[in-house]
């Protein structure tokens, strides 16, 4: 399937845009969102990523690497994206399903996500590509234009900060329950 998509990209067949959106759109949007933390921006980046792939299909050397290549484009766009001045969304974004959950697992999840949001963008991107997109260290390094050792060090530092975020949350809860 990937080879067919790559072939379609190189031949500029319009239907390949639909195929890329179907197969990779949601994941691209998710990666962008986890990095930029804004729904509208993430949607923009996802559209831009697919169109960039359309225009630069010749840059893709390895046909088997379409997915990491797309995620690399999305990551680069996320890291360089200029935040929208206005925060205008479609109506369906507003009264979304409302879940308030204070179960321990949820509390830990919220603490972790707050920790992720507080990371520097490059470190956050490395974390998202590794633990959300499940890319290998080498693929993350290629996406960010860094050496594998640098990425390993960034991930180590990020995990240390996650541990701190969880520990802080645990301490806060202990105080609240005292």
């Amino acid at each position: 399937v990937e080879q067919r998509d790559v072939q379609g990209l190189r031949e500029r067949r319009p239907e390949v845009l639909d195929a890329l959106l179907d197969r990779y759109g949601r994941e691209i949007q998710a990666v962008a969102f986890l990095i930029v933390r804004d729904r509208a921006d993430a949607e923009d980046i996802a559209v831009e990523t697919i169109l960039t792939a359309w225009h630069r299909a010749g840059d893709l050397r390895d046909e088997a690497s379409l997915r990491p290549w797309l995620l690399r484009i999305a990551t680069n766009k996320s890291l360089t994206h200029r935040r929208r001045g206005a925060r205008v969304v479609q109506l369906r974004v507003v009264p979304d399903i409302h879940l308030r959950d204070t179960a321990p697992d949820s509390v830990a999840r919220i603490a972790l996500l707050a920790g992720v949001a507080s990371l520097p963008p490059q470190m956050r991107a490395a974390l998202v590509l590794r633990y959300y997109a499940d890319l290998s260290i080498e693929e993350v390094a290629a996406a960010l234009g860094k050496s594998p050792n640098t990425v390993k060090a960034q991930l180590q530092a990020a995990l240390d900060r996650m541990r701190l975020a969880l520990a802080d949350e645990g301490a806060d809860r202990a105080v609240r329950h005292a």
Binding site: P14, L17, D18, L21, D22, R23, Y24, G25, R26, E27, Q29, A30, V31, F33, L34, R39, A40, A42, E43, A46, V47, I50, L51, W54, R84, G85, A86, R87, V88, V89, Q90, L91, R92, V93, V94, P95, D96, I97, H98, L99, R100, D101, A108, R109, I110, L112, L113, A114, V116, L127, V128, Y131, Y132, K152, L155, Q156, L159, M162, R163, L166
Partner: protein, 464 residues
């Protein structure tokens, strides 16, 4: 790095966060952006050719007439035409003589439709023809907006992502959104407001609008940019509303005119928020449930009976059968449940979006029943999805490109809906009578570009 428990916890947290994110990008969005890019490319190319021609012509002229003249200072491009000031003077109000007794411009069953004139989509200052479309499909002219009244280099914005290019208020004010046409254009994004009862009058021009516009009660127009400009067409006045930090705002007025529907994000987790209304003084007020909404077209009804509909298109997404292709509808209940509503058969493709019906019991959508059909027989089916595996075919509509066919409006009680049949060669509109399935092409063979609102009626929708 070998803390497997932490890594697993992190994976779960990231997936929970990302999977809660609705996926709303459609094929139409991608193709629309690609077409915009192509138009931009053509504009640049033509500008480049024109500049090169000017240089060559100037060179030839200099050479022919002044062979002994000193070298001409190089000036590779002609000076751009100075852009006009987009801000309007107070006297430009289209409504100084207007009042609450201002008549409607048509009857309740007439749909206001428009055509952007000219065959060259890249041409700036295009004229726009407006019509009232009767139920039998015939057109009554409401007049023509002269493109020369738009700023120099202004291109009517055809990007559907931010809503239509032309929206008409309940009492006949037409707002036209425009933007720059290419790198050589000096025009800024803006909105021009015309009085359809007096088209000879100069428009009021409002800066901004890159994120769309929407008419509200009392002939007030909200223009979205880095802030929101509220233009009162009856009074001819305008004010500015600042969007507070941590608030996102939708292009939807509350029916009581208090303000615009908004969401206040209260925590690091996106699931922590309050829904309500951003009032015109910039205050966010929690409103539970959300108030009824004012709608000129009846479009955009994302919630029904507490449920939300999503159209995942990724085969690995939640609720999808991996054997199926295309996009499918997943309905999320207020209890967190998710059920897949299929469009009847498994080989149909559901492009675009779905909208709830007026009482929130079912969903409207257009479905491509034959994705590989030859161009001459392409069509979409208008479906009413009433539940899991249940759907009713209401009508069949011939289209150029099923991926660009959209429902763009609903009449009261869903008695009628409008389908925009977009395409590379221009589009048209089809009125569909929902009780009988009768589909009437608006204006016969005439090309039309969009639906701007009902002539004498407003629709309301309760978003819950």
């Amino acid at each position: 790095m070998h803390d497997n428990r932490l890594e697993e916890q992190l994976r779960r947290a990231l997936h929970a966060e990302a999977d809660a994110l609705p996926f709303r990008i459609t094929s139409a969005d991608i193709h629309s952006r690609l077409n915009s890019e192509r138009r931009l490319f053509m504009t640049r190319a033509l500008a480049g050719i024109a500049a090169a021609f000017v240089i060559v012509a100037a060179g030839v002229l200099v050479f022919a007439t002044r062979p002994s003249a000193p070298p001409v200072a190089s000036s590779p491009t002609p000076s751009p035409v100075a852009s006009p000031t987009l801000g309007s003077s107070p006297s430009a109000s289209p409504s100084s003589s207007a009042n609450a007794d201002r008549p409607f411009i048509g009857s309740a069953d007439e749909a206001i439709v428009y055509r952007i004139e000219g065959t060259d989509e890249d041409a700036p200052q295009a004229d726009i023809s407006l019509f009232a479309a009767r139920p039998d499909g015939s057109l009554r002219s409401l007049g023509m907006i002269a493109g020369s009244t738009l700023p120099v280099d202004a291109h009517v914005d055809r990007n559907e992502i931010n809503g239509g290019a032309v929206l008409v208020s309940e009492r006949g004010y037409a707002a036209v959104r425009f933007g720059p046409g290419g790198d050589t254009s000096e025009a800024k994004p803006g909105v021009a407001v015309y009085d359809l009862l007096d088209l000879a009058r100069q428009p009021v021009v409002i800066d901004g609008g890159q994120f769309g516009m929407v008419w509200g009660p009392g002939e007030r127009l909200a223009v979205f940019d880095n802030q929101i400009v509220i233009f009162d067409a009856l009074a001819g006045s305008r004010s500015t509303t600042t969007i507070p930090r941590d608030v996102v705002v939708a292009r939807a007025w509350s029916a009581d005119g208090a303000g615009l529907v908004a969401r206040h994000e209260t925590g690091a987790d996106l699931l922590q928020y309050e829904a309500g209304v951003l009032t015109l003084d910039g205050a966010f007020n929690v409103r539970t449930p959300l108030p009824a909404l004012y709608q000129r077209t009846g479009l955009e009804r994302p919630y029904g009976g507490g449920r939300r509909a999503d159209i995942p298109c990724d085969q690995s997404g939640p609720g999808l059968d991996p054997k199926l292709t295309g996009c499918w509808v997943v309905v999320h209940g207020p209890d967190g449940s998710a059920r897949q509503w299929r469009a009847g058969r498994t080989d149909r493709k559901l492009p675009g979006r779905v909208d709830w019906n007026h009482d929130g019991s079912a969903l409207w959508g257009v479905v491509d029943p034959w994705p590989d059909a030859p161009a001459a027989v392409r069509q979409v089916e208008v479906l009413l999805l009433t539940g899991v595996e249940k759907s009713t075919r209401v009508a069949t509509v011939r289209v150029q490109n099923p991926n660009e066919a959209l429902i763009v409006g609903f009449a009261g009680g869903d008695r009628e809906l409008l389908v925009l049949n977009g395409g590379d060669k221009g589009g048209n509109l089809v009125r569909v009578e929902t009780s009988s399935g009768k589909a009437t092409v608006v204006g016969g063979s005439q090309r039309l570009d969009g639906f701007a609102g009902w002539a004498a009626a407003q629709e309301s929708y309760t978003a819950r």
